[in-house]
C-alpha cells in the first residue's frame, strides 16, 4: 500500500514544510537571516583581511630590498652565468621577486677614482624598489646612473657627459663615454657609485659572463622559508654561497609569525561572536515556535523528526546567510583594505565556500540546544498559555 511514490510524496511534504515555514513567515525569516548574514559578513570580512594583511605587509617589507645575496664561496671568486642560471632554477618561481647581478670595477674619471657598477636596471628596480632616481633610468647602451654623492661632488646631472677610464682584463687602457640619464639616491653606500648596464661594463672591460654578486628578493608568505631556499641554491649551484640579509629577514619573519597568531586569534574571536549572534537568533526563533513544536508532538511527531525539521531550517538559513554574508564580507574587506593600505585586495575565492559551510554549521549547532530544549518539554505545557 505504501508504495515508493507515496513515500516520496511524504518526503516532499516534509521538505515543503521547511520551505513554507521560512518563506511564508517572511518577516521572521528576515530577522533570522539578518543575524546569520551579519555573522557571516564579519567572519568573511575579517578572515579575508587576515589573509590579506600579511600579503600587504610582505609587499611593504620587500620595498626594504633584497633578502638574499649570492656570492662565490672563495674569496675574490666571481659568479659565472652558469652559477646564476642554476641558482635561479633552484628558487621557487612563485616566491622569486627578482635576481640582480652586480659587477664592480675600479675606474677613473677626470683623474679621480670611482667604483663603477655593472648591473641590470630592470632587475634593480625589482630587488631595490627603494632606489629613487631623479631624471631617468638608463634605457639605452651608453647611458649611466650616478649616485647622488658623486653628483654633488662633480656636478654631474641628467644629460651630462661622463668619461670612464681604466685598464681591461689584458691591462690595456680603455676610455668610454657615457651620458648621465639620472641621479640615484638610496641613502646608503650606493650613493657613491656610478651605474652602467652590465653589457656596457663587459664591452668596456672585455670580460663577460662574470659578476661579483647577485641580490635576490624573495617572498616568505607561503611556501618555503628563506633558509630552505638558501639551502636549495647551495645544493643546485656548488661553489655558490647564499647569504641571508639578516637585518630585514629576521624582522620580517618575526612580524609575520606574530601576525599569523593574530590571525588565528581574531578568527577565533570572530567565530565565537558569530556563534553567539546566531545562537541568540535561533534561540529566539525556536522559543517563539515552542507552541508549534508542542503541537507537532501532540500530533504524534517524534522528537527526532521535529528536531530534524528545525535543524533543516537552520541549515537552509545558514547557507543563505552565508552566501549573502560572503558577498557583503568581500565588500567590507575591500573598503578596509583600501582605506588602510590604499590598495584593493584580491578576494580569496576559496573563502566563500568555507564561510558558507561555517555559517551553516554554526547555525545548525546554535539551533541544536534550543531545539532540544523545546522538544523535551511536555506538549501540554507549551500548548497552554496566551
Amino acid at each position: 500500500m505504501a508504495g515508493k511514490g507515496t513515500r516520496a510524496r511524504n518526503r516532499a511534504f516534509g521538505l515543503k514544510m521547511v520551505l513554507w515555514s521560512l518563506f511564508r513567515r517572511r518577516s521572521r525569516l528576515l530577522v533570522a537571516l539578518t543575524g546569520v548574514t551579519i555573522g557571516a559578513t564579519v567572519l568573511l570580512g575579517l578572515i579575508t583581511l587576515c589573509y590579506d594583511i600579511p600579503k600587504q605587509l610582505g609587499r611593504e617589507f620587500r620595498s626594504y630590498g633584497a633578502n638574499m645575496v649570492l656570492v662565490k664561496d672563495q674569496v675574490g671568486g666571481r659568479l659565472s652565468a652558469g652559477d646564476l642560471a642554476a641558482a635561479r632554477a633552484a628558487l621557487p618561481a612563485a616566491q622569486l621577486v627578482g635576481l640582480t647581478p652586480f659587477r664592480y670595477e675600479a675606474v677613473r674619471s677626470h683623474m679621480l677614482p670611482y667604483t663603477a657598477v655593472g648591473t641590470g636596471f630592470e632587475d634593480v628596480r625589482r630587488t631595490s624598489p627603494f632606489w629613487r632616481v631623479e631624471g631617468l633610468w638608463p634605457g639605452a647602451p651608453g647611458e649611466a646612473l650616478v649616485g647622488v654623492d658623486v653628483s654633488t661632488a662633480t656636478g654631474l646631472g641628467p644629460g651630462s657627459l661622463l668619461t670612464l677610464e681604466g685598464r681591461d682584463s689584458r691591462q690595456v687602457r680603455y676610455e668610454k663615454n657615457f651620458t648621465v640619464s639620472g641621479v640615484v639616491s638610496t641613502g646608503s653606500v650606493e650613493d657613491g657609485f656610478i651605474y652602467v648596464s652590465l653589457a656596457d661594463m663587459e664591452a668596456m672591460t672585455g670580460e663577460s659572463g662574470l659578476v661579483d654578486l647577485a641580490e635576490v628578493s624573495l617572498t616568505t608568505s607561503g611556501g618555503q622559508s628563506l633558509e630552505e631556499m638558501a639551502g636549495a641554491v647551495q645544493t643546485a649551484a656548488p661553489g655558490v654561497e647564499a647569504r641571508l640579509v639578516v637585518r630585514v629577514t629576521r624582522s620580517e619573519e618575526t612580524v609575520m609569525g606574530k601576525l599569523t597568531w593574530l590571525v588565528y586569534l581574531v578568527t577565533l574571536v570572530v567565530l565565537t561572536l558569530t556563534m553567539i549572534c546566531v545562537s541568540t537568533t535561533m534561540m529566539t526563533v525556536v522559543i517563539e515556535r515552542r507552541k508549534e513544536i508542542g503541537l507537532k508532538k501532540a500530533l504524534g511527531a517524534e522528537s527526532r523528526s521535529v528536531a530534524r525539521e528545525f535543524l533543516g531550517e537552520g541549515l537552509l538559513l545558514g547557507v543563505l546567510g552565508g552566501l549573502l554574508g560572503s558577498a557583503a564580507g568581500v565588500g567590507f574587506a575591500r573598503i578596509v583594505s583600501h582605506s588602510v593600505f590604499g590598495r584593493g585586495l584580491s578576494p580569496e575565492g576559496h573563502l566563500v565556500p568555507v564561510t558558507v559551510a561555517v555559517s551553516a554549521a554554526v547555525t545548525v549547532l546554535a539551533s541544536l540546544w534550543p531545539v532540544r530544549r523545546a522538544v523535551d518539554v511536555e506538549p501540554a505545557a507549551v500548548l497552554r498559555g496566551e
Binding site: M17, S21, G300, L383
Partner: protein, 234 residues
C-alpha cells in the same frame, strides 16, 4: 484486567496552590461517547491533556487501552498519540504558515503518509472545500475550529478527545461537526467531548460533570434527559 479502553484511577493534578484535579476516577468503555461538562477552571482541559498523553498526573494512574501511562517512555507516549488518539484543541493550534489543507496533511505526515485527496475530502466534510488554500489568519474562528476537527479525524483515531469542538460554531456547522462525530461513533470510535453546550452534550451517552477538579456527577442515558438541571449549576 478490565476491558475498558480508559481507566482514570484517583488522579490529581496540582499546580502549586491550585489543585486542577483532585482524586478523579473515571472509566470509559470502548465505543462509548462521553461528554464532560463543568464550569470554567474546573479541570476539563487538564483531564483531557492527561488522558491524551500530553501531560502526566501529579498523583494517580491512567490506563489507556491496557497500558499504564506512567510506565511508558516519552517515545511510547508519542506513538500512542500518533496511532490511537485524535485531538481537537480548545485553542485550535493550527500552524500559522501552513494553509488549511496542509494543516490537515501534517497529521497524515506524522501518522503515516500524506494523501492530499483524502485531506481535501475531510475539509469538504466540515464545509471548508473552498477554504483549503487559506492560511489560518485568513480564516474565521469557526473555520479554524473546523480545520482542527478535520485534522483530528483524518487518521481515524480509536479515541477522540474534543475540547469544546463547537465553541465557535453556528448551528449549521455545529450540526456538520456532530454528524462527523456520529460517523466516528458508528465505526466504533470512543469519543470524549468537553462542552458547555447542553445540545452538544445531548448527543453523548453519558455526561460527567467536573467541579473544582472533582467529579460532581456521572450520569447515563435516561438520567440525562435534562442536562441543564442539577449537574449544570456550579
Amino acid at each position: 484486567m478490565s476491558d475498558n479502553i480508559l481507566d482514570v484511577i484517583d488522579v490529581s493534578k496540582i499546580y502549586g496552590p491550585v489543585k486542577a484535579l483532585q482524586n478523579v476516577s473515571l472509566s470509559v468503555r470502548p465505543g462509548e461517547w462521553l461528554a464532560i461538562m463543568g464550569p470554567s477552571g474546573s479541570g476539563k482541559t487538564t483531564l483531557m491533556n492527561i488522558v491524551g498523553c500530553l501531560d502526566s498526573p501529579s498523583l494517580g494512574r491512567v490506563i489507556l487501552d491496557g497500558l499504564g501511562l506512567d510506565q511508558l517512555t516519552a517515545g511510547e507516549l508519542t506513538a500512542i498519540r500518533r496511532e490511537a488518539i485524535g485531538l481537537i484543541f480548545q485553542q485550535f493550534h493550527l500552524i500559522g504558515y501552513l494553509n488549511a489543507l496542509e494543516n490537515v496533511m501534517v497529521a497524515q505526515y506524522y501518522h503515516s503518509l500524506v494523501d492530499e485527496a483524502e485531506a481535501l475530502e475531510a475539509l469538504a466534510k466540515v464545509g471548508l472545500a473552498d477554504r483549503a488554500k487559506h492560511l489560518p489568519r485568513q480564516l474565521s474562528g469557526g473555520e479554524q475550529q473546523r480545520v482542527c476537527v478535520a485534522r483530528a479525524l483524518i487518521n481515524h483515531p480509536k479515541l477522540l478527545l474534543a475540547d469544546e469542538p463547537t465553541g465557535n460554531l453556528d448551528e449549521t456547522n455545529e450540526g456538520l461537526v456532530m454528524d462527523i462525530l456520529h460517523g466516528l461513533h458508528r465505526q466504533g470510535g470512543t469519543i470524549i467531548v468537553v462542552t458547555h453546550s447542553p445540545e452538544v452534550a445531548q448527543h453523548a451517552e453519558r455526561v460527567v460533570v467536573l467541579e473544582h477538579g472533582r467529579v460532581a456527577s456521572d450520569s447515563r442515558g435516561a438520567d440525562f434527559s435534562d442536562p441543564s438541571g442539577a449537574s449544570q449549576t456550579a
